[in-house]
Amino acid sequence: MASRYDRAITVFSPDGHLFQVEYAQEAVKKGSTAVGIRGTNIVVLGVEKKSVAKLQDERTVRKICALDDHVCMAFAGLTADARVVINKARVECQSHKLTVEDPVTVEYITRFIATLKQKYTQSNGRRPFGISALIVGFDDDGIPRLYQTDPSGTYHAWKANAIGRSAKTVREFLEKNYTEDAIAHDNEAIKLAIRALLEVVQSGGKNIELAIIRRNQPLKMFSAKEIELQVNEIEKEKEEAEKKKSKKTT
């Protein structure tokens, strides 16, 4: 049945599916994992870096992009689609600032991106964007936000979420380990993001990229050394926890 109703975006199948949108969600799963966590005073975005070819300039392969000084996003899926969406969002952020003299709220820019994506699911001759995005930032009221959008054009607020390959595994890890204590301290929120990624990242800390935004501070990208430090701390904590466990059993 799918083969008759999946070639045109503007056609519903008899049981109500828009197959092109569902297939676009499969394209998202081909991108590497991205995780977002909303802490009490911090928002964290962690991504699995793709290994870069020897002759390729690493700076041009970025999964985390700033949309404005106080908002940034990570995506998973088709690189070129992401570039188009990010450019449009950045222009919208500035246009909003010039028109209304206020920076965008995280919800506003998320709604803009989601509306853009939805338009492409209802247009003749166009296909949906093959990306999901995690958008984080602080509003003027100082409240941290995390939103997720998907190719269908829906968006939801989340406390913590993951997108891309193995997103389900990471989400389950977050469901088990996201507690109010865990996110109360900035460092703990950062560690939670790294631990979630280490569940699925194939070559450890070298392939992780991390960005944070603290209240009233600009976006900060972690250097490889800083990530390595965090990973070492996490491994030490793991070892100590295991030692305690083995002591208890003996």
Binding site: E26, Q56, V61, L78
Partner: protein, 267 residues
């Protein structure tokens, strides 16, 4: 009867047979030229068994030359990576032959000289344990087949978002008495291509065989998919062949990095 998108008329298939059968047959009727082309292509199709080191042809029946009690076949890059890192890593395996084929769907145009690097299938036997290839009659042979399939092919009444990919499903012949290491493949799911052919052959010839099918959402070489085959290591066929699991995991990681294809389409 027909759905249209962009002015395209699509004929819906009908199980009772179409009313316009005669009209369609006229359009489909083969000319003598078509038949001749088809005959020539069929003549060109070939399957050859080689010994790679000497590049000599082997006698047709490899299993008659090397009768064995355990035959393990891996189909697809993840299954092959699993077998190479976990099973073939322990002990010395000697290559006894390789099979190459050509048919009209192959991309190479040169039929006369199939190069040694284009082997379709390579056969190995365990040097240190000749009883694995002993002189047991075919009846005592046990066959294990490992393969992968994309999870979107998996039909289930459950919601697909609740599936924990990758997961294993098994299908076995009537003569296979051991319990499988995962649940059996439920209807209406079916197995396709080479794994299905091997399993059907074993069922017809009453050879005990089991097929382990891994449903995954990453068809290219992927660590998590390969590790999904690990429960199979406890089976009777593979238990004695596997020695060093931590080393195998290291070998697997190396295999991953050497095989990584650089694609910038998805990030």
């Amino acid at each position: 009867m027909a759905a249209t998108f962009f002015g395209e008329v699509v004929r819906t298939p009908c199980r009772a047979g179409t009313e316009d059968e005669e009209e369609e047959e006229e359009g489909r009727r083969e000319t003598p030229e078509d038949r001749e082309v088809r005959r020539q292509l069929a003549r060109k199709r070939e399957v050859r068994l080689f010994r790679r080191q000497t590049k000599t042809m082997l006698e047709v029946s490899l299993l008659e030359k090397h009768p064995c009690s355990k035959f393990i076949i891996a189909i697809g890059n993840n299954a092959v990576a699993f077998l190479s890192s976990f099973v073939m890593n322990s002990g010395t395996w000697e290559e006894v032959g390789c099979a190459k084929l050509w048919n009209e769907w192959c991309r190479t145009t040169d039929t006369a000289h199939l190069s040694p690097t284009e082997a379709f299938c390579v056969f190995y036997h365990l040097k240190s344990n000749p009883s694995v290839f002993g002189s047991c009659p075919r009846r005592n042979m046990q066959v294990t087949i490992l393969t992968c399939r994309h999870v979107t092919d998996y039909k289930t009444s459950e919601s697909t978002s609740s599936l924990h990919t990758p997961f294993l499903k098994a299908l076995k012949t009537q003569n296979f008495k051991e319990p499988p290491f995962c649940s059996l493949l439920e209807q209406p799911n079916i197995v396709h291509d080479l794994p299905a052919a091997v399993l059907s052959y074993c069922q017809v010839w009453r050879i005990p065989a089991i097929l382990y099918l891994c449903y995954t959402d990453v068809m290219k070489l992927d660590l998590i998919t390969v590790e999904a085959f690990k429960p199979v290591l406890s089976s009777r066929s593979l238990k004695c062949l596997v020695k060093n699991i931590p080393q195998s995991t290291e070998i697997l990681k190396k295999l991953m990095t050497t095989n990584e294809i650089q694609s910038n389409i998805y990030t």
